[in-house]
């Protein structure tokens, strides 16, 4: 219809242009709110040498874990990577480089990247191995370290609903890193459970405005639960 219609209709189209050695930012916390079909499309395309930035790296056989099977990830930037036997194996054998980054710093790096801020000072990590090699500066008698922003060639995002303008809302805690990732990709691709007619999403309820979004696709999701806990 117009240049503001971000819809694509196949996953192949959704990740058109993704090639070897690119940096991919992914939303999600554990298995909650992960762009599971876009991840599967990365696997299908067989691209390698990827740098992946995500809070976690999925589990064996689901989420980003599937990209480990064919060794598509060269470098992983994450805050916690404990749930994955293949990850552990590749890490210990040196096949996979890992940059462990405090969770709040990781979120802020992508927020800054999307907002045109090249770096920021934070107290997080001062005096720890995370601070090694980083500039330290004092503000008001406290120590802070300089952390650099992160941007990606592609950002892959899981939303709940979007309209064709690329306005996105997230559902419950499936929001997590997704809105931040969405701002920091050169090409931001959002997969959602439902693409609704324009006007259905109210302007004041949009989490991610369409300006950040290049492509939107509607998918179906398994939404695997990592730790099923109930009171009954």
């Amino acid at each position: 219809m117009s240049g503001l219609d971000k819809r694509v209709y196949t996953y192949e189209e959704a990740l058109e242009g993704l090639t070897d050695n690119m940096t991919v930012l992914s939303g999600g916390f554990g298995l909650c709110g992960i762009p599971e079909n876009l991840i599967n499309e990365i696997k299908r395309r067989g691209v390698t040498g990827l740098t992946v930035v995500s809070n976690n790296c999925g589990v064996d056989g689901f989420g980003l874990g599937v990209l480990l099977e064919d060794r598509q990830i060269r470098k992983m930037v994450a805050s916690y990577v404990g749930e994955n036997a293949e990850f552990e194996r590749q890490l210990l054998s040196g096949e996979l480089e890992v940059v462990l980054t405090p969770q709040g710093t990781l979120a802020e790096k992508m927020r800054a990247g999307g907002a045109g801020i090249p770096a920021f000072y934070t107290a997080t990590g001062y005096g720890t191995p995370v601070a090694e090699g980083k500039e330290v500066r004092d503000f008001n008698g406290r120590h802070y370290i300089l952390e650099e922003a992160i941007t990606g060639d592609f950002a892959i995002v899981k939303g709940w609903k979007a309209d064709h303008y690329g306005n996105v809302v997230y559902r419950n805690t499936a929001q997590n890193f997704n809105p931040l990732v969405a701002t920091a990709g050169k090409i931001t691709v959002v997969e959602v459970e439902e693409i609704v007619e324009p006007g259905v999403l109210l302007p004041s309820e949009i989490h991610t405005p369409g300006i950040y979004v290049n492509r939107v696709i509607q998918g179906t999701f398994e939404k695997r639960i990592e730790k099923r806990t109930t009171r009954d």
Binding site: F29, G30, L31, C32, G33, N55, A78, S79, Y80, V81, G82, E88, L91, L92, L100, P102, Q103, G104, T105, L106, A107, E108, M110, R111, T122, A123, T124, G125, Y126, G127, T128, P129, V130, H143, W160, R171, N172, T173, A174, Q175, N176, F177, N178, P179, L180, H207, K223, R224, I225, E226, K227, R228, T229, T230, R231, D232
Partner: protein
């Protein structure tokens, strides 16, 4: 007798005040939620982006899109809000959370904490722990006083890589409640039936024992 995990959670819960926003780490800190007194209202923050964590769901109401920082399925209580990870850590780093409770491997007399990395063992990551200890004014560390081999975890200097430097003022172990001030641990309370001598023997860092140490009751 050393405190059970439940007693440790109960003791921490006595630090809660009406109107507090509280972040509870994984393990013993999570149990604190079971001992919030009936006459106060506190809001639990979960760093994946939930302020107002409620009880676990039922089988019928379980929701894959509603988890806590431990990746367990939870509910949102009345008055809850949900936000992105940068906002979540703005709350944490910005000092807006009134009380943070988390576990550790070691703490030392300078208020340093080590809780995420044992060299030579697989390192899984720090998650949000470094942000939590850097941002909070009021932190309680919960841990056992000594390792299974009897090695003290309250040290002159942490031996493991740090999670944060100079940020811990309060420690609850299975044997005692202590504060950290001016380069020393100060014994404030003993677990029921635990002698001061035992605590002295199991505290490697400088320990001050004031005259007014009290025994906890449950």
């Amino acid at each position: 007798m050393a405190l059970t995990r439940e007693q440790m959670a109960q003791r921490v819960a006595r630090e809660l005040k009406d109107g507090y926003y509280v972040n509870l780490g994984i393990g013993i800190p999570t149990l604190v939620a079971n001992y919030v007194p009936d006459d106060i209202d506190v809001m639990l923050q979960s760093e994946n982006g939930l302020l107002g964590m409620g009880e676990f769901p039922t089988q019928a109401t379980i929701d894959a899109d509603m988890i806590n920082a431990g990746k367990q399925t939870v509910t949102a209580r009345r008055g809850a809000s949900i936000f992105n990870s940068a906002d979540s850590f703005a709350m944490i780093r910005g000092g807006h959370v009134d009380l943070t409770v988390l576990g550790a491997f070691e703490v030392d007399v300078q208020g340093n904490i080590a809780s995420w990395m044992v060299p030579g063992k697989l390192v899984k990551g720090m998650g949000g722990a470094m942000d939590l200890v850097a941002g909070a004014e009021n932190i309680i560390v919960t841990m056992t006083h000594a390792s299974k081999d009897g090695e003290s975890k309250l040290l002159p200097v942490c031996s493991l890589p740090l999670t944060g430097a100079g940020c811990i003022r309060k420690v609850l172990t299975d044997l005692a409640y202590l504060e950290i001030q001016d380069g020393a641990f100060i014994l404030r309370e003993t677990a029921p039936g635990v002698s001061v001598e035992e605590i002295v023997a199991k505290t490697a860092g400088k320990l001050i024992v004031p005259d007014d140490v009290v025994e906890m009751t449950f």
